[in-house]
Symmetry: C2
Subunit: 144 residues, 2 copies
DNA sequence: TTATAAAAAGACATAGAGGTCTTTTTATAT
DNA sequence: ATATAAAAAGACCTCTATGTCTTTTTATAA
C-alpha cells in the first residue's frame, strides 16, 4: 500500500525514538543498519523528514537524529502526508479523477469504507505507540 | 492503492461487459475513449488481460474485445493478481520482508485487518456486479 | 586551532510504471 | 483476390521511485 520510502521513514523514526529513550542520537548509518534499509537513501529520507520538521538533526561530532522533547505524538498520517502527499486518502479506488459520494463510481461504497479504516488507523497509530510496542517485546522492528 | 494500470484494466473490462450486453465488441480505441485512458496503453493492457485469459479478442474487421459466454464472474482480485502480482495482499504494512502474525511488526494487528477487508472486497466485487451498478444508473463509469 | 565525526547537499545511476509510435498479422467484406 | 479494419507486437520514450557516490558544511573533542 505504502511506498518503500514511507516504510523506511516510519521504521527510522521508530528506531530514533527508541534510541532517544536511551539518551542516544543515532546517525543514519546506524539507523539504516538497524531497520535494514539502504544507507544513503535512508539519509536522504531523514533529510526530508527533518525539513518537514518531523524530526531534528545535529551535524558534527556527537550529532545525529532526535526528537525535541516534549515531542507531540507523531501520527503515521503525518509521515505519510509528508512523503506521499496530501491526496493519498482521498483518491477514487476505481481511478476516477475525484472521489465523489454524490456521483459515485461502482466501487465507492465498499472502497471508501476500506480507505477510511486505513485512514483511521494511521491517525491513531503514532511513532511513539509503535516504539512502545517494540520496547514491550510485543512486536519487532526488523527481520534480519 | 492500486496502480493506474490496474484501474484502466478494471474500467476497461467493465465497459467491455456493458457493451457485450448490447451485442457489441468494442475495440481499444473506443474503450479508451469511454473510460478516459490513454489509447495505446489501454491496448497494451488489454493484450495482457487477453493473454491472462480474462477477456477474449478477435482481430480483423468486426473484431474487438469480448467475454466468452457463459462467463464465470471475474472478481477484481483476479484482475489485480494478473497485473500487480500474487503478493499484493500478503505484504507487511511496516515494510518487513514477510508478514508473520507469530512475530508481528507493531502495525500488524491493525494493518492486517484493513488489508483483509480490502482483500475481502476485491473477492466479492466482480466486473459483472460493477457493470450492473452502472447499468442501473447507481454509479458512473467515468467523469468526463 | 586542528582533526574528526557527523549531517547536508548535489550529481548521478537504475529500475519500473506508464505511455507512444510504427509495423505486422489476421479476419472480414467487397 | 483485394482492400479494409481490427488486434498484436515490438521498439522506443518519459517520468517517478528508488538508490549510490562524492563533496561540502558544521559541531565537537583533543
Ligand atoms: S468515487 Fe470512486 S471511490 Fe469514491
Ligand atoms: S508483520 Fe507487518 S503487517 Fe504483518
Amino acid at each position: 500500500m505504502l511506498g518503500k520510502t514511507t516504510e523506511y521513514a516510519i521504521r527510522a523514526l521508530v528506531y530514533i525514538y527508541i534510541q532517544n529513550m536511551e539518551r542516544e542520537r543515532p546517525g543514519f548509518k546506524e539507523i539504516a543498519k538497524m531497520i535494514d534499509s539502504p544507507e544513503q537513501f535512508t539519509g536522504k529520507v531523514l533529510q526530508n523528514l527533518a525539513r518537514a520538521e518531523l524530526v531534528s538533526s545535529m551535524k558534527g561530532r556527537g550529532g545525529g537524529f532526535f526528537f525535541n522533547e516534549p515531542t507531540n505524538p507523531i501520527t503515521l498520517f503525518k509521515v505519510i502526508e509528508a512523503i506521499e502527499g496530501k491526496e493519498y486518502f482521498s483518491k477514487c479506488g476505481f481511478g476516477l479523477k475525484r472521489c465523489d459520494a454524490n456521483n459515485p463510481c461502482p466501487l465507492h461504497d465498499d472502497y471508501a469504507h476500506v480507505r477510511d479504516s486505513f485512514f483511521k488507523m494511521v491517525n491513531e497509530k503514532t511513532i511513539q505507540s509503535l516504539a512502545n510496542k517494540i520496547n514491550k517485546r510485543e512486536a519487532t522492528l526488523n527481520r534480519l
